[in-house]
Assembly symmetry: C2
Homo-oligomer: 121 residues x 2
DNA sequence: CTGTATCCAAACCGATACTG
DNA sequence: CAGTATCGGTTTGGATACAG
């Protein structure tokens, strides 16, 4: 009986699409990275500077996952020093629509949520 | 110098609405619960059965947080044994729109994501 | 029936040093 | 410049026993 972790289990054959998508995209950084790439491709360090408070570790990991899931592409230009650009893939572009709907809602309702929290505690 | 955890820090005064909202809603269960309440109010055990693989612990915690943030309401009916109903609050109802946009996208693109994953590994 | 308390494992994330 | 390896702290989540 080898133990299967949740990650391994969910990588393929996920029975519920929404959970599958959210498990991958609902972390601290994915949306932020996708948003940063909305209008133009970016290099590793540019992303690092633009997002500001992300560690290189997490930026690297999150980019890998987004690439693996097909949201973004990674292009290496043969130069010295190396130049790597990240850009939205087709899936990433199509994801922009629901993502921006969500962002807009968050902007509009953020205040209401803060008020609700303060009321109760 | 008391150490401030991320949770404490983010509870109020979050500088970025989208991160604030996603930090709370982007967990394993919130969307599922909100979706279950979409068409009717439900009791604790009904939710537990309907969702199936959630533990009582997590159902309880997640409901508390959703209530605190103003997404749902909790109504206790004075009976023996106690009867408690959870229902969408105004904020929860308004959240349905962006949420369903996201769910629809996930349904439509789930296959593409699975294919992307398999291609690369 | 509707939860909460406790304990433990897995996952997430950051700091930092190191590699090509 | 573009990462990866290691380590340790925090958070999330499940199982289960207990409480009103």
């Amino acid at each position: 009986m080898t133990k299967t972790t949740r990650s391994e289990l969910f990588e393929f054959d996920h029975p519920c699409p929404i959970r599958d998508v959210l498990d991958r995209i609902g972390d601290q950084w994915s949306l932020l990275i996708l948003k940063s790439l909305e209008h133009n491709a970016m290099r590793f360090n540019s992303l690092h500077r633009e997002i500001g408070d992300i560690s290189r570790q997490m930026l690297s990991r999150t980019l890998k996952r987004l690439e693996k899931d097909g949201y973004i592409t990674r292009t290496v230009y043969a130069q010295v020093p190396a130049r790597v650009e990240y850009a939205l893939a087709e899936l990433g572009i199509s994801f922009l629509k629901p993502m921006n709907t969500l962002i807009q809602w968050a902007d509009e309702n953020h205040q209401a949520i803060c008020r609700a929290r303060k009321r109760q505690n």
